[in-house]
Symmetry: C2
Subunit: 375 residues, 2 copies
C-alpha cells in the first residue's frame, strides 16, 4: 500500500467574469492522522443540496464542455444578477459532495480496525477518488451492504428522521410532506408507517401518487388536481396534521397548506374568532425546488409559523445522544427503510458531460444520480 | 343606585347579503355576581385590532348612514369575494371594543371595595355605556389618572412589553420594529431606552422619524429613502438585532428585514456558506396594515422564521406570574412610559357617523380615536 494516495477531485469555481467552471484536479493526500482514515470513494449521490454548490447560480441551458481531452471541464454562464450572492465564493475552487461511501485504504493508529472496511461518510468533498476523513464521520456498513447501499445514509435518512423528531419535540400529531414521492419522501413514508405517525403526502402528478400507493402510503393528495385544496383539507382534518415540511419553497404551496390546516381547525370551531383559530400551524421549508418567492396571504389568523429548516443545526439542537440514536437506526435499516434508488451511476468524468449534467440538474422527483469515482 | 343598568351597546353585523351594519342596541344588565363589577365606560380606544371586528371586510368607500334619528346606524358594502372568510360571524350582531376604562357603579359582594373606583379593563364589548365584567379583568387606576389615561392600558402596553419579553425568552440582543412611530412604537422606545435594549425603528416618512427623534430614539430608518436597505443593514449590524416585530404584514418589508439581518451577519463571515449564515433571524407579524401577501424570496439561507404573533397566546405562554409583573409595570408607569395620545374623542353615536368612521378606518400612524360612551 502506498504511503500517499493521489486522485482526482471535482472542483466548482464561480469566477468574477460570471462563469461557472467544473474541473477535476489531481490531489495528493498526506497520510491519515491517528484518528483519521483514507477512503477510496466508490459511491456518492448528487443530492439537491449538492447542486447548489456544484452548479450554483449557473444558467443550465448554457452548459458546455471546456478544457481538454486530458483535463475535461464543464462551463456555463451565470446571469449577472445572480452573481452578487456569490461574492463569498468568487474565484475559489470549491470541492463538492456532502456524503458518500467506499473502502478504507489507509487508517490511523487509533482506528486501524477500519482498514479494509466499507464505510459511509459525511463531510463534503466526496466527489473525489480519495477522501481523508475523521473516523467519527464514518459509519461501517453492515455485512453485505455495498458502497451504493451506503452512499446516501446521512442526508436523506437523517432529514426524514429529523422531521419525525421535530413532530415529537414540538408536540404535533401528524405531518404533511411535499415533493413526497422523492427518495426522501419514500423513506419518510416507511418511517411513519413503522412509527404510527399519520403522514399526508403532497405530490404533483398521478405517477408520483402511484409510487407512494405502491409502498403503502395512506394519504396522498395531488396538487395538480382541481379539488386539491378540498382533498388536502380532508386529509389534514382526518389526520390532525399541524406540521409540514416543504421541499419546494417558492409559490403558493406553503400558503395552501396553512389554509388547509386552518380550514380543518375551523371545521370543529363553534364560534367566530376574528384572529383565526388558536391551532398553531408550522411549515418548515427545507428545499428550494422552486426558486421563486414564497407568497403568504396570511388568511389563516396569527397562529402560524414558516421557517427555514437545515439538518445540521437541527442535529446540534438534538444533541449527540439523539444523533447516535438516529445513526444507529439508519445503519440497522439501511437496506429496508433507508434504501435509495438511483436513475444512473456515472463516473467523475461523466459528471462533467454537458448532456448528463443537464439531466441531473433537473432535480426530477424520483430521479437521482450516483457518482462512482472509482470507475 | 338602580338595581339594573340599561345602556346602549355598539353591535357590528355582517349579513348574508354582503352588507356591514353598525347599530346601537339597548342592553339591560343583570346585577353583578359576587366577583363581578359593572363599569360605566368613559373611555375606550379604537385600536387596529378592533377595526377588524368593527368594520370587518367592508369597502370603506361605501360607508353611509342608515337607521333613523332615534336609532342611528352605519352601513357599508362588503366585496363578495371577502364574504367567505366571514362565514362564522354571518348575521350575528357582534359587540366590539377590546379594552376601556371607567367608573365602577355596582360591585359584587367579594369586590365591594371597587365601588366608585376608576378601573381599566380588558375583555371585549367595551363600546357600550355599561360593561359587566369579572373584577380580575380590571385594574384600579393610580391616583390622579383619568379614564382616558387608563383606556389603553392593556393592548398596546402589554404588546410592547411582550416584544421585549420575547427578545429575552428567545435570546436575542436587539430588536427591529416597523410602523415604529405608532402609539405602541413610542411606548416600545420608552421601554427599550429604560431597559437598555437596542431598538431599530423603521418608519415610512420623515415626519414619523421626527416624532421618534423627539422621544430619544437612537436608530431610525426611513423605508421611503433610497438607501433604506443599506441604512437598515448598518443599524442592524450596529445593534446585533436578529428579532423583528412587524405591524404591516403585506409586501416585501419582512423580506427586506431578513435580508438586512443576513447581510449584517455576513459582514463578519470569514468563509462562504452555501446555506447562508448560521445566525437565526426571526420576524413576528403582529398586524396587517397592508392586507396584501407577504413575499419572502428566501435569499437569506435557512436560518430564519416568520410567524404570526398574537398577544393572548403569548400571555398564556408567559404564565400568570409574568402577566401580573407586566400589568404592575403598566399601572406604575401609566402616565409616562405607557401614555397614549388621541387624535379625537368621540361619542358612541359619532362612531357611527360615516365621515368620522372613514377617518378612524384609515389607521394612519400616530392617529388614534377614543370613544367616550358616557357623552
Amino acid at each position: 500500500m502506498a504511503d500517499r494516495f493521489t486522485g482526482l477531485e471535482l472542483r466548482s469555481t464561480v469566477s468574477s467574469d460570471a462563469r461557472l467552471t467544473l474541473t477535476l484536479a489531481p490531489v495528493t493526500l498526506d497520510p491519515p492522522g491517528p484518528d483519521e482514515v483514507i477512503v477510496r470513494v466508490e459511491a456518492t449521490p448528487i443530492n439537491p443540496s449538492d447542486l447548489g454548490l456544484l452548479l450554483g447560480p449557473a444558467d443550465v441551458s448554457t452548459l458546455a464542455a471546456s478544457g481538454s481531452a486530458d483535463s475535461p471541464g464543464l462551463t456555463a454562464a451565470i446571469p449577472p444578477a445572480r452573481l452578487g450572492a456569490m461574492k463569498a465564493r468568487l474565484d475559489q475552487p470549491m470541492p463538492v459532495g456532502n456524503e458518500g461511501a467506499g473502502t478504507v485504504v489507509a487508517a490511523g493508529a487509533n482506528v486501524a480496525g477500519l482498514l479494509g472496511k466499507k464505510v459511509g461518510m459525511i463531510g463534503g468533498a466526496m466527489y473525489a477518488e480519495y477522501r481523508k476523513i475523521a473516523a467519527r464521520d464514518c459509519i461501517p456498513l453492515p455485512e453485505g451492504a455495498s458502497a451504493a447501499d451506503g452512499a446516501s445514509m446521512f442526508v436523506n435518512p437523517l432529514t426524514a428522521l429529523a422531521m419525525v423528531e421535530t413532530l415529537r419535540m414540538e408536540g404535533h400529531k401528524a405531518l404533511v410532506h411535499t415533493a413526497a414521492a422523492s427518495n426522501l419522501g419514500q423513506m419518510l413514508n416507511r418511517i411513519c408507517i413503522a412509527d404510527g405517525v399519520p403522514l399526508v403526502n403532497v405530490v404533483r402528478n398521478e405517477a408520483q401518487a402511484a409510487i407512494l400507493r405502491e409502498i403503502g402510503a395512506k394519504h396522498i393528495v395531488d396538487s395538480s388536481a382541481a379539488d386539491f385544496r378540498e382533498k388536502l383539507t380532508d386529509a389534514i382534518a382526518e389526520t390532525g396534521a399541524t406540521l409540514a415540511f416543504d421541499a419546494i419553497g417558492g409559490g403558493r404551496l406553503v400558503n395552501s397548506i396553512l389554509h388547509a390546516m386552518e380550514a380543518a381547525a375551523n371545521r370543529s370551531a363553534t364560534e367566530y374568532s376574528r384572529y383565526g383559530s388558536s391551532t398553531f400551524k408550522q411549515v418548515y421549508i427545507y428545499g428550494a425546488l422552486d426558486l421563486g418567492p414564497t407568497e403568504l396571504d396570511r388568511g389563516y389568523g396569527f397562529a402560524w409559523g414558516v421557517s427555514g429548516f437545515l439538518l445540521t443545526p437541527f442535529l446540534m439542537k438534538l444533541g449527540m445522544e439523539g444523533v447516535l440514536r438516529l445513526r444507529a437506526r439508519v445503519a440497522a435499516e439501511l437496506k429496508t427503510t433507508f434504501a435509495s434508488h438511483y436513475t444512473a451511476t456515472i463516473s467523475l468524468a461523466e459528471a462533467l458531460d454537458p448532456v448528463i449534467a443537464a439531466a441531473y440538474a433537473k432535480k426530477a422527483t424520483g430521479e437521482k444520480y450516483l457518482i462512482d469515482p472509482s470507475r
